[in-house]
Subunit: 270 residues, 2 copies
Amino acid sequence: METSTFPIVLVGAGNLATNLGLALKQAGFPILQVYSRSEGAASALAGRLGCEATVSLQDLRPDAELYITALKDSALESRLPEILHGREERFWVHTAGSLPLSLWERVPGVKRYGVFYPMQTFSKARRVDFRSIPILLEANALAQMNLLREIASTLSGNVREATSRQRQAIHMAGVFACNFTNHCYAMAEKLLAAQGLPFELLQPLIDETARKVHELAPQEAQTGPAIRYDENVIGKHLEALSHEPEMQTLYRLLSRSIHQAAREKLKGTE
Amino acid sequence: METSTFPIVLVGAGNLATNLGLALKQAGFPILQVYSRSEGAASALAGRLGCEATVSLQDLRPDAELYITALKDSALESRLPEILHGREERFWVHTAGSLPLSLWERVPGVKRYGVFYPMQTFSKARRVDFRSIPILLEANALAQMNLLREIASTLSGNVREATSRQRQAIHMAGVFACNFTNHCYAMAEKLLAAQGLPFELLQPLIDETARKVHELAPQEAQTGPAIRYDENVIGKHLEALSHEPEMQTLYRLLSRSIHQAAREKLKGTE
């Protein structure tokens, strides 16, 4: 598509807005304006995008082809009428994993709307490569879907439609595969730090664990003491975790859950 | 070192023995023999290594320079005297994360012993590249340590000494960073499968989550609803998990733990 004639406004300046805004700019889209409640965040992102910043929803420009919201779910929900006021005729998309497409129907007069959900973990401090990121789309009509598909395809080779229900499952799966995984890394780091050992020790293991599931299903890839609930090792680890009751509880529950899953798998192959 | 004149016997034919045996063979060490209680496992690995197989500890060859045990902890502990009988004068190492060096002292007459712990997740179905794997060494005397260091250096550029206590912390950290992480992947896969969605959707997220901690500490890398305990999103996810009580419990506890860690970090920077 001719990206240079398709101006965009970003409503939000957080981790997702930052990474998406930079990727859209790089793809040639004019970013007209960034809104954030926080003046610092709005200016910082506007500076990187070379566009206007505003902290006032009233001042949102009316002349963009597409408005992308990337706010906390509760903020988007509560301020929806204010965000759209006077711009109901424009094309609106949100970027939230667990908000339905039908959110937009709460505002009378909105006719063109959709969801543009890039499935990735975004931090302001780190640019991600959009080309392989799944972008999940939903729209209220074919014309809007086609347009979103064109836009998404300028960023990624992994664009697909997903219903609101599927997107919620994907979001939840992402919490497990990314946020909970990252917390496992954080707990591991804490255990090493207590013995004066650097986190880098774990990097080859972390990388191989991620690479392995390109080839083997996670169930097939599993190793370690929990599969057969090796009391010998698990008992020692639980004892060593006695001064970290929260980690001890998580260790016990996760080990039981791994053991249970392995037993169910065995039953399935009998 | 001159690997071709340093023959090795492997006591064990599981995931670790398989990958370590193949790596040692590739580095030029003659593998003389593989022992396993299971005839199938012993022959399979002996076949890949081009050496003898045995299912009898009595028939372990007496003429290797190094004996590497890679058995389940409880099997090694209970069969220790039988394994060493008549070979007490040889050089023995085990490969267990959570067994101390002093294990060897339980057998009278053993004088040269150590630990050779490659920190990685091993599956028979997948060859891993040893070059970046941390190999953690412990030995009863300098001569043995020097020898282990030479051997380990033929396989990996990441060789270091670790005490039994440090190794146990590293093993436990590995359970968090690998086994628990992999289980998070498995739970995510289950959530996607319930909506007819393929696991591949998660791969870019999984890869980025692992890559991210090369640059940012896990705490800095964290994203998602749990950091600020976003009731809105978390409530929806817990509701959607109501038919999976085990995953629901883990979701709740992991989210609380992430929130707690984020709060402690904030306090630390105030």
